[in-house]
């Protein structure tokens, strides 16, 4: 047996072949195969991890990009005075109660040449337009009663099924009984598309509409605003509190048992399941302090506590990175300890603090479970005007849509997910750019 010293860099294969166990080439071959296999395992593991990432993003983008477009139908709608306002009083109540659905349906019959006496045909045609078309027309009349008696060309939303068909999510080749759209309806859709009366356009409603039970008119307005309020509260509270706590622990705190406990406590707090923070919010902010349920204020407070450890840990890291010579120089020219920290250390560690804060915010904006606990799962129709009003948040809206039974919501959910991931991506890139730009090597 000849134990021969091996070169430490095994990638140097010549060296590996000439040295080693000369007396047993089979063993050497096995060992070398083992080496290659082991490297391959590592590569496979990385490839698997990366492919999960690609599949995740891929399927969500595939399912969701169409949510940013929406099919509408142009109809010449006759705002019939006899139908909307039979008394001619222009009373707002009467105008609000008129049957606008009927107006849209009649315009549709005219456009498609539907036989109004056939009940089946009427129903098939009615199913083409969204069930929320009445609120669109009602709003038009309410804002301008003068259009009563005239005929206007209006783009109305197509129903969820028509939208799905136009986007190719319902297969035309399937037998009629297996798809949600009949042959008759397909021929109408083709006719409308050919005449230019059916088009896909950018779906602004996704960002401006509020809760709805119809997928085609459901939007993210409440969720976006709710998330915005929550972010605002988290920034306003967690940054001052977190930075102050970090400064104290890093610069002023005496090294004793209490400081140790605080440190261990902060590290553990960062790993407490987020749902437990939700329970805390429910018990303390809602039951004890009597704050309103479903309000973004409570959501912001809970998520502030959730992000606080992250901000503290990031700030401490960037404060430690400032070399002691800076502090000593400040103290040397007569500054007090507080002055040296606030005039020199803090400004120098600012880039790190900002990056850490953004990362904490990214965490907070994707948090769902604690918000479920404090009642932010709500069907909110009115846009919240203050953080005290009921609201939802972006991830909660995704949860609510993901549990909706109706098929059209799958596309909506994926669309909302893209919006959420987009916001996160922008914030992460911002943090990265800031870090690259201002990072200082001491």
């Amino acid at each position: 047996m000849s134990a021969v010293a091996q070169d430490s860099s095994m990638s140097d294969s010549d060296a590996a072949e000439t040295v080693g166990r000369f007396d047993n080439p089979a063993l050497m071959r096995r060992r070398r195969r083992e080496e290659v296999r082991f490297q391959a395992y590592g590569l496979i593991a990385i490839a698997l991890g990366m492919s999960f990432l690609v599949i995740l993003f891929g399927t969500i983008i595939r399912d969701g990009w169409t949510a940013f477009f929406q099919t509408s139908i142009e109809l010449p709608i006759k705002f019939d005075a006899a139908e909307i306002d039979p008394d001619g009083t222009r009373n707002a109540n009467a105008l609000a109660q008129a049957n606008y659905q009927k107006l849209a349906n009649q315009a549709l019959y005219g456009q498609l040449g539907v036989d109004p006496s056939s009940r089946a045909q009427r129903q098939a045609a009615n199913a083409l337009v969204s069930r929320d078309v009445d609120s669109q027309l009602r709003a038009m009349v309410a804002s301008d009663p003068k259009i009563i008696g005239t005929t206007q060309n209006v783009w109305v939303l197509a129903s969820g099924n028509v939208d799905a068909f136009a986007k190719g999510k319902i297969d035309r080749e399937l037998p009629q009984e297996n798809r949600q759209i009949s042959d008759q309806q397909i021929s109408w859709i083709d006719k409308l598309t050919a005449s230019g009366a059916m088009e896909k356009s950018f779906n602004t409603g996704l960002f401006t509409n509020t809760a709805s039970s119809q997928p085609e008119t459901a939007g993210l307005a409440v969720a976006l605003l709710g998330s915005f309020y929550i972010m605002l509260i988290v920034v306003l509270l967690s940054v001052p509190l977190g930075v102050a706590a970090a400064i104290y622990l890093e610069e002023f705190a005496p090294r004793n048992r209490i400081t140790d406990i605080i440190e261990v406590n902060i590290n553990n707090l960062a790993a407490v399941p987020s749902i437990v923070f939700g329970l805390l919010g429910l018990a303390v902010f809602i039951n004890f302090a009597g704050l309103p349920r479903s309000a973004s204020l409570v959501g912001g407070l809970v998520l502030t506590l959730r992000t606080l450890p992250t901000v503290i840990i990031a700030t401490r890291a960037s404060i430690t990175a400032v070399p002691p010579s800076i502090r000593e120089a400040a103290l040397g020219v007569g500054a007090s300890k507080v002055q040296s920290v606030f005039h020199h250390v803090l400004p120098l560690s600012l880039p790190g603090i900002i990056t850490g804060t953004i990362i904490g915010l990214v965490q907070a904006i994707g948090e769902t479970a604690p918000l479920l606990m404090i009642g932010m799962v709500a069907f909110v129709v009115d846009v919240p005007s203050s953080p005290l009003d009921p609201a939802t948040a972006l991830p909660v809206q995704i949860y609510m849509w993901a549990t909706e039974a109706e098929r059209g919501f799958v596309e909506k959910t994926a669309g909302a997910t893209i919006v959420l991931l987009g916001i996160l991506a922008v914030m992460n890139i911002l943090a990265m750019v800031l870090r690259k730009r201002y990072e200082r090597k001491w």
Partner: protein, 486 residues
Amino acid sequence: MSLSALLFCLLLAAMVAFVIGFWRAKRLSPDNPRAVHSRPGYHGGYLALWTALPAILVLLVWSAVEPRFIQAEVESNLPAQVLEGSEGQIGLAMGVVRSVATGLERLTPAEVAAAKASPKEAQRLFESKGVVIATPPNAVVIASAEELNNIRHLSRLAKTAVAAFLAIFGFIFAFRKLSPNLRARNRVEQVVILALMAASSVAIMTTVGIVLSVLFESVEFFKHVSIIDFLTGTIWDPRFASAGDAGGQGQFGLLPLMWGTLYISIVALVVAVPIGLLAAIYMSEYAHPKVRATVKPALEMLAGIPTIVYGFFAVVTVGPFLNFVGSEIGLVIQPTSVLTAGIVMGIMIIPFVSSLSDDIISAIPNALREGSYGLGATQSETIKRVVLPAALPGIVGAILLAASRAIGETMIVVLAAGIAANLTLNPAESVTTITVKIVSQLTGDLEFNTPQTLVAFALGFTLFILTLGLNVYALYIVRKYREQYE
């Protein structure tokens, strides 16, 4: 004045005080500014702090105590027959009194007189002002409401007076102290350090708050259900009691939920540990530094994706895919199952294993590797026989942290694990977890003091203890190990 208006006024007063202090300090020793101990800004700050801080502190304490005090006062004057009722009835009566009080505030004196004369008229009047009351308020209720309004009014007046007194007194006190010898800077800095200390105690208070609130409600729960039944019960059937049906006690057995939680976490670890560990080994031992610099953050992205996104991914992609695979090989895999939730959760925790393990493996001193090479070992043999054993405690710590993450994860299991509390070994069936049940017991309109809702806090407490134990142990291992090579 309302609290926010008072606070605003105090801030304004503080600003004025600052300017006065600044101006005064400049004139303390105009010929020789160096004779003054502190810079003018600190004198301003000193004056501002004395003006606003005592008043603000008193106001905050007052506002926190006030509602409870007023409630107790009004409650004690309620008629005896109400006070004999249950806690819920008293609460209900107080609710009515409170709405009536809001209503009375909005009425004109003439309308108040009319409301007192006739309960029906009072109800109509309140409704016209936007306060809806279920039953016409009788004279006793209106009297209580008036008392409530009176106390509130008095308290508000007193609050304003106390705040004004404290602000003025503080200002005069501090102004008289301004002198060249005043150590204003030291005083202001003391306050600053106290404020920093208070901020760092928020983290402690959060923990205390979590423990207290969850513990308190759990104790409430254990008054209804014995702790032994909860910990050892094998049947989870909370049976939502319908209104008035007091006998509808369900069964609250923790074991099926605990089993579901652990089973899913085990599946997740089976997915995440091999992938994460092998990826970490490759990144730290084989990969070019540039490759590592791109792969590591890319894998960490997996941990940055919100869990709700994983949940949705599980429902629309992984569940149906597993179901399809199962039907191809003749197995029935339910769309929500241990496998679906476990695999997706495994993907999520890959970076917890890989990044931490990578750090730990990189921290192993090179001397160990070189010693092994010197004995003729190949690189993979060195890794398996020298590096990994040396890094083992740290890797175990990383895995435990990942496990604690998996146990506390909510959104993936809410969407992908199912809601039936099964005690099953079959990974193709659906189970439920502690977190799922916390969510399902607490969403919806529920009375807060039934065992059906309180059990969520007992579950939360169990979860907290479980994850805390894992974290503390894991951090202990990681820390102990790190010190070994430093």
